[in-house]
């Protein structure tokens, strides 16, 4: 299987501190690639560079063979690349269905005037979007909540809603920033199963996560980062035995220690 996402040499410094230092990794369709490392290792920065929210100082991001570095964030969904955020960033005052429909914005053809005058083409499009959004909600077990205000949902449901919003446009690659942070054990289990189901659909997934048991259970490949650089890369079992990783994790518990 070929690489869908190839990231190489990503470097970014904030006032002399290197947040990313020549980071190189890749992700394949139908695989889950996890980015792990202690706080401040640069995992979220890496995702932000890929999703167009942060512009790195140097490096290359190839998506499906095309250089996407420098494209604005809003262009990504059209290419088939979506993401979720560590801090949810739900559209709290809209209902659940509307939140997911925003995820389809990139597919809308009708313009400003059509929207104001509610042309038939727009109505058809609205119906298509609503149906598509409902399908996605059903897939994630959120269909019953479609009419609820997003901001008022329990945290666990909001996390799944964030997933729905990223999934609805049928991306080929999804970047997940800490999808189970703050969830209880049962909710984490559900989320893990959903992530595996997405892999079954053939999506490429890049997972940033602190929950090691989840990472080790679902990942096909694990990239270990420290101080903005990669220190190990491989299948979970191999990475776990990697001496530098063991050192970085001070014994390999769930808690992260300082870098070696």
């Amino acid at each position: 299987m070929s690489e869908l996402l190839q990231v190489s040499g990503l470097t970014i410094a904030y006032g002399g501190v290197k947040a990313l230092d020549g980071l190189t990794f890749s992700a394949r369709a139908g695989e889950i690639t996890a980015l792990i490392g202690p706080n401040g290792a640069g995992k979220t920065t890496a995702i932000n560079c890929v999703s167009g929210h942060t512009r790195p100082d140097a490096g290359q991001v190839l998506f499906n063979g095309r250089d996407i570095l420098g494209l604005p964030a809003r262009a990504m969904t059209g290419l088939g690349l979506t993401r979720t955020f560590q801090h949810l960033r739900m559209f709290g005052r809209m209902n659940v269905l509307e939140n997911v429909m925003v995820g389809l914005h990139g597919t809308a053809r009708a313009g400003f005037t059509a929207a104001m005058l509610r042309f038939p083409s727009l109505r058809r499009e609205e119906r298509r979007m609503a149906e598509k959004a409902m399908d996605t909600l059903s897939f994630l077990g959120l269909a019953d909540l479609a009419g609820r205000t997003a901001g008022a949902l329990p945290y666990g449901d909001q996390k799944r809603l964030a997933l729905a919003r990223a999934l609805v446009s049928e991306p080929r690659l999804m970047l997940l920033d800490e999808p189970v942070a703050g969830l209880n054990t049962a909710e984490t289990g559900t989320m893990g199963r959903l992530i595996l189901a997405l892999r079954e659909k053939g999506l490429a997934l890049v997972l940033v996560e602190h929950d090691m048991s989840l990472v080790m259970r679902v990942s096909d490949r694990v990239v270990v980062m420290c101080s903005g650089a990669k220190i190990a890369d491989g299948p979970p079992q191999e990475v776990q035995r990697h001496p530098e990783v063991v050192a970085a994790y001070l014994g390999g518990g769930k808690e992260f220690g300082l870098c070696a």
Partner: protein, 331 residues
């Protein structure tokens, strides 16, 4: 709640309103009250546009009195001085206003932060001074007189009663495109935008472009109201379009409920006659007006209608057109 239900609910709210407006002239025959109602309708039109901007783009304009004024003056000058057909003048005025809005909005709406408030405030003052100083064209501080009335199907709309139908017709019809926009992908995107720009961008929303377009549209609402104003009163004076008028317009949005179309309708209908009512108190008018506004903003920041919509939504009867509680990003 699905979208067609929202649309039906909006229409269900609109129908009694149409009925109410339709019956009003049967009861209210006093020219003075009709005049206040007509001005109210024009304010409703401006506030609807302004609410689109505030509610959608999360930006305040303190320049809408200027757009209102540009509409009025372009219409007045073209018809009174150059004899152009009033309807044609109205369209020309709207185009001119749109260009001005583009010139002010395009550079400032690309920036983070509330630069639009500052720019529109400056713009309003400049326009106001120009209206006073450029007296060859505008008639100076005395204003421009002799603006002909609008003619609809051969009928000149030269009485308060006749103009009532046009003003309220425009105000109610003006609600529809605004409502349509709010409940389309564009409206959702704009609302998404002020909850989280980063997430909206990830969903493919062209942020700056939408903000600029909605600003231009809202300025055009003000312009059309201004043109109607000029033809109704037959005279335009600079004082009508100063910075305090802009503040008053934004206040109408805030009192009703930020970004809520019903709220704007209510805010304009409540605040337009208020100074007339307060006229009884003459000297203390500003104190009462300021105090009422202050108390509302401190204790009822979601606005009167916004509060009602929230209460309804909590009971599940819901359907805030756009709840207007906090515009800050949630943590």
């Amino acid at each position: 709640m699905n979208l067609t239900v929202q649309a039906r609910r909006f229409m269900a709210g609109l129908l009694p309103l149409i009925l109410l407006v339709g019956l009003t002239p049967l009861v209210v025959t006093n020219a003075y009250y009709l005049n206040v109602l007509n001005v109210t309708a024009l304010n409703v039109l401006v506030v609807t546009g302004l609410n689109l901007l505030i509610g959608c783009a999360g930006q305040i304009s303190l320049g809408h009195a200027a757009f209102f004024g540009i509409g009025a003056y372009v219409s007045a000058i073209l018809t009174a001085t150059y004899g152009v057909n009033p309807w044609l003048a109205l369209v020309a005025a709207a185009l001119a206003t749109a260009l001005c809005a583009l010139a002010v909005g395009a550079p400032t709406l690309r920036l983070k932060g509330n630069y639009l408030v500052m720019a529109t405030l400056g713009f309003n003052i400049i326009v106001n001074v120009l209206l006073i100083q450029w007296d060859d064209l505008t008639g100076g501080s005395g204003g421009l007189t002799g603006v002909p009335p609008l003619v609809l199907f051969g009928l000149p709309l030269d009485t308060d009663y006749r103009f009532f139908w046009l003003a309220w017709g425009a105000a109610l019809i003006g609600l529809l495109p605004a409502r349509n926009l709010l409940h389309s992908h564009v409206g959702r995107a704009l609302r998404a935008l002020h909850d989280s720009p980063a997430a909206a961008a990830s969903c493919g929303v062209p942020i700056e472009g939408y903000k600029i377009k909605v600003f231009v549209v809202s300025a055009v609402y003000a312009s059309v109201a201004g043109s109607l104003y000029a033809h109704y009163f037959g005279i335009v004076t600079p004082r009508t379009f100063d910075i305090f008028k802009s503040v008053e317009l934004v206040t109408m949005c805030l009192v009703g409920g930020i970004g809520s179309l019903w709220g704007g309708l209510f805010g304009a209908s409540f605040l337009t006659p208020l100074p007339q009512l307060l006229h009884v108190f003459e000297e203390h008018q500003d104190i009462i007006f300021g105090a009422v506004l202050l108390l509302l903003l401190i204790f009822l920041p979601q606005g009167l209608v916004g509060r009602l919509e929230e209460a309804l939504a909590r009971r599940g009867i819901g359907g805030a057109v756009m709840p207007g509680d906090s515009l800050e990003e949630r943590p």
